[in-house]
């Protein structure tokens, strides 16, 4: 080999690819403390196992071998704090996720809500999505209302609010642009009516976007709940530990009037002492009515 020849076979050393990181409870607590101090983000309300996995992802990405290294990185680097927070909160969502649930709302729930509101006019009808991620769920509600209840919408003022803890995700929600994979459950004609195809993105029609208000809010802040007629809190409780689930559900029960509706995710349930406060409307779709 000539003296000037380059060495092209890079050694695929494992040093650059750290294996699975094990995070202990104490380490998680340490990271949680940084998050709490810098972002007012409370790690302890979530299921610890899940949080450990999520933190491990960031640690591997940043090549931190242990929690203290990662903590000092967090102290120095605001961007990493953003990334960590984004990784910790999982934003999987879909338009019309579980279509049968929306169908049930359309046939069995929403007509009654409008009817009750039309009898005692003056108040707006309030829909609230807790943990709304990229806005897919509140927008789906808005589309549903626009499609099937346009008459009611003219007669009754209707408010749809989406709250989430993650500002970046909310920003995306306000923009209302989505990749195709978020629209998998959207029927073709709805897709054509309410979305504009631009390159790889689908842009939601402005009149639907205007129907939804997005607010940043922490679901564990039970005191700041909005009085609502229908609360949809789907696939968000699963990340929380039992105790906080119960607290959140009691908070929701408190902000609903008698006859108000609660919708949960398909694998979530009314835990412990909350169950007696609701009666099922459709247990399969996890739709409950406040007693």
């Amino acid at each position: 080999m000539p003296p000037g020849n380059m060495n092209l076979t890079s050694d695929s050393g494992d040093a650059t690819f750290p294996t699975l990181v094990e995070i202990t409870d104490e380490e998680l607590e340490e990271i949680g403390m940084v998050l709490g101090l810098r972002r007012h983000f409370d790690l302890s309300v979530y299921k610890a196992k899940c949080m450990k996995r999520r933190v491990a992802i960031r640690m591997r990405s940043t090549r931190c071998l242990d929690a203290s290294a990662y903590c000092s990185l967090l102290q120095r680097n605001d961007r990493e704090l953003d990334l960590l927070q984004k990784t910790l909160t999982i934003h999987v969502s879909q338009f019309f996720r579980n279509p049968s649930m929306f169908e049930k709302l359309r046939t069995d729930v929403i007509p009654g809500l409008f009817m009750a509101r039309e009898r005692e006019t003056g108040f707006p009808l309030r829909f609230w999505c807790l943990g709304c991620a990229g806005g897919e769920e509140p927008y789906s509600l808005a589309i549903l209302l626009r499609e099937h209840f346009s008459g009611n919408l003219r007669r009754t003022r209707t408010v749809i609010v989406g709250t989430d803890i993650d500002p970046e995700t909310l920003q995306g929600a306000r923009q209302g642009e989505y990749n195709e994979d978020r629209l998998r459950d959207v029927p073709m004609e709805i897709r054509e009516r309410y979305f504009q195809h631009q390159g790889t993105r689908f842009v939601l029609a402005p009149d639907i976007r205007e129907m939804v208000t997005f607010l940043q809010g922490d679901i564990t802040d039970v005191g700041g709940y909005l009085a609502s007629d229908l609360v949809s809190c789907r696939n968000t409780l699963i990340y929380f530990n039992r105790h906080d689930q119960e607290k959140i559900l009691h908070g929701i029960a408190d902000c609903l009037p008698a006859g108000g509706i609660l919708v949960l995710g398909k694998s979530e349930s009314l835990v412990g002492s909350v169950r007696p406060r609701f009666t099922p409307v459709c247990p399969v779709e996890r739709i409950y009515r406040r007693i």
Binding site: K49, C50, K266, S269, V271
Partner: protein, 426 residues
């Protein structure tokens, strides 16, 4: 022997200068006139200089030209041609340059080949990972659905358990009620049985008294009969006295008649006979009175007898009633005892039932706990699945980017031609 180009220039220069310097003298040897020799000298010197210069620079520019061509084709991406420079016994920098360009070309060729291979593989792997991620996403979706199904089951279970435990609790409450009622009944039955016993005892006592009464009555009747018989005897005596008085009266009458006949003498006697007759009359009257009195007594005693008879009948009636009452009490006692027995056994049974329903409540609570655990577990799985979905989405996204990068890289090295057969980009 390597001679640097500078030296070659100097040597060439020196040769030309020498040629110029020596050519007039050589031309002079030809014997032309001085002027012609002079001109010829210049001509020869210039010719020699030109020839030498041409020969030298031709060799030199040929090499430079080859190098330029090679650099140009490399710059255009063609790495297939080697730099061919004629071998020289006196190599200079151009030869070194050629060698270095060759080496560079070789290295570039290796690099490009490597990148081409690598980016191809990279793009392929990225695509593979991407499609795997999508596939995992899809199957994760299926798992999610299955979990939702399970969770639905768990929810239904929880609801049924809720209902069941409510029902059981209600049952337990009614069982408890039954038990309480049964206990009350048993107690009441016991009280009733006491009362019935008391009543029975009282009835027995009444019967006892009645028997005494009958005994007494019998005695009275007996005495009464005796009294009647004695009365009859007295009557008979009174009759006898009456008879005697009547006969005495008759005798006295006869005696007075006789006395009248006897005259004076019989006067005294007549007085006695009259006295006797009067006495006999009195006796007869007394006897008649006695008879009357006895008759009255008899009348009265008959009435009394009848009254006694009457009351005996009534009392006998009463006795029959008391008998019925006593046997009724007996009957009541029997029934009440039976009731008590039954009530007690109901109480016992319902206690057992209560224990059973307590156990049932416990079992249902346990089932509820299991259902709850189930719900928790499915929820956990669901969270993990959601996490996985998120990861897969991220992965799909980054592998897409990675594939794009690989493609860009591959496009960037595309214009480099590495082997002769392959088409170059330009």
């Amino acid at each position: 022997m390597r001679i640097p180009i500078g030296y070659k220039f100097i040597i060439g220069f020196v040769v030309v200068v020498a040629a110029v310097a020596f050519s007039p003298r050589l031309v002079g040897l030809l014997g032309y006139s001085a002027e012609i020799s002079n001109i010829l000298g210049y001509v020869v010197a210039m010719t020699v200089g030109l020839i030498l210069g041409w020969a030298f620079s031709k060799r030199f520019t040929a090499n430079i030209g080859r190098l330029t061509a090679a650099a140009e084709s490399i710059s255009q991406g063609d790495l297939t041609h080697d730099v061919a420079i004629r071998h020289s016994s006196l190599p200079d920098e151009t030869h070194e340059l050629a060698e270095l360009i060759s080496l560079m070309q070789q290295n570039l060729r290796d690099l490009v080949g490597h990148i081409k291979n690598g980016s191809g593989q990279l793009s392929e792997s990225a695509r593979e990972i991407n499609s795997t991620a999508l596939e995992i996403s899809a199957s994760t979706g299926e798992v999610a659905q299955a979990i939702e199904q399970i969770s639905h089951g768990a929810e239904t279970q929880a609801m049924m358990v809720d209902k069941t435990s409510k029902t059981i609790r209600e049952i337990a409450i009614s069982i408890e009620l039954v038990a309480a009622r049964a206990r009350e009944t048993a107690k009441a039955a016991r009280e009733t049985s006491l009362t019935a016993q008391h009543g029975g005892a009282l009835a027995g006592e009444s019967l006892e008294r009645m028997k005494e009464f009958f005994d007494h009555q019998e005695m009275i009747r007996h005495r009464f009969d005796t009294f009647n018989a004695k009365l009859q005897k007295v009557g008979k005596i009174a009759e006898f006295i009456g008879d005697v008085a009547r006969q005495t009266n008759l005798l006295a009458l006869n005696a007075s008649i006789e006395a009248v006949r006897a005259g004076e003498y019989g006067k005294g006697f007549a007085v006695v006979a009259d006295e006797v007759r009067k006495l006999a009359d009195g006796s007869a009257r007394s006897a008649a009175d006695i008879n009357d009195m006895i008759e009255n007594l008899r009348e009265e005693s008959r009435g009394m007898h009848e009254t006694i008879q009457e009351s005996t009948r009534t009392i006998r009636e009463g006795k029959k009633n008391i008998d019925v009452t006593a046997s009724a009490f007996q009957e009541i006692l029997k029934t009440v005892l039976e009731t008590e027995r039954k009530a007690t056994s109901i109480a016992d049974l319902s206690q057992m039932q209560l224990d059973g329903s307590g156990k049932m409540v416990k079992a249902v609570d346990e089932i509820a706990k299991v259902a709850d655990d189930n719900a928790t577990a499915t929820e956990q799985v669901s969270a993990a699945i959601e996490e996985q979905l998120a990861a897969m989405q991220d992965m799909a996204l980054s592998t897409k980017e990675l594939a794009q990068l690989a493609e860009d890289l591959s496009a960037a090295v595309e214009r480099f031609k590495v082997s002769a057969g392959e088409p170059g980009a330009l």
